[in-house]
Amino acid sequence: MLIDGGFTKVTAIRGGLDAWLEAGYPIEQMP
C-alpha cells in the first residue's frame, strides 16, 4: 500500500521484531 501510495523506499526488517530482539537491540514500551 505504501508503494502504491508513491513511496519508493519501502523495506521490511527480515525476521521482523523477533530478529530485532534476537540481535539484542533495544525496544521501548508505552507506559
Binding site: L2, G5, F7, V10, T11, G16, A19, I27, E28, M30
Partner: protein, 137 residues
C-alpha cells in the same frame, strides 16, 4: 520229468538291470524337473517383485519443511543490523504494523504504529522521500 531251472543267469539279468537303472534315471530326472519347475516361479516372482517395489516413488530424503508465509514478498528486506544502523543515523522511519496492543507492549524506539489497514488514511503522516522500514512479528 526234470524241473525247470528257474534261476536266471547273470548274463540273462543284465538287460533287466539296465532297463531298471534306465527307468530310475528317467523317473529321477522327471522328479527333478518337476521340483525345479515349481521353484522357478518363486524365483521369477522374487525377480519380478523388485520392479514393483522400484516403481513406487521414493520417499524424499528430507521432506521440505513448511515454509512460513512471508507477508508482502515483493517488499525488499533489510537485516536487523541495517535497520539498527538506520535507527542510529535517523535515516529511516519505522512503522510497526502489528497493532496497538503489541506496539504498546514493546516496539522499536521512535516507531509509528500503523497497521496495513490504516495506511491509506494515514499516508499524509509520511513523506514520500522517507526511507520507510516496516516490521511485524
Amino acid at each position: 520229468m526234470p524241473s525247470p531251472d528257474r534261476s536266471a543267469r547273470p548274463s540273462q539279468l543284465a538287460p533287466i538291470y539296465l532297463i531298471f537303472v534306465g527307468v530310475l534315471l528317467i523317473v529321477g530326472s522327471l522328479v527333478w524337473l518337476i521340483v525345479a519347475a515349481q521353484e522357478v516361479p518363486a524365483a521369477q516372482l522374487a525377480v519380478t517383485a523388485q520392479p514393483v517395489v522400484a516403481t513406487q516413488p521414493p520417499a524424499p530424503p528430507n521432506p521440505p519443511a513448511a515454509t512460513p508465509r512471508i507477508p508482502y514478498p515483493g517488499v525488499k528486506r533489510v537485516s536487523a543490523a541495517d535497520a539498527k544502523a538506520a535507527l542510529d543515523l535517523g535515516t529511516a522511519v519505522f512503522i510497526d504494523t502489528r497493532g496497538d496492543p503489541y506496539f504498546k507492549n514493546g516496539h522499536i524506539p521512535g516507531a509509528i504504529s500503523m497497521t496495513s489497514s490504516e495506511v491509506p488514511d494515514r499516508l499524509g503522516e509520511l513523506k514520500s522521500a522517507d526511507w520507510i522500514i516496516t516490521y511485524c512479528t
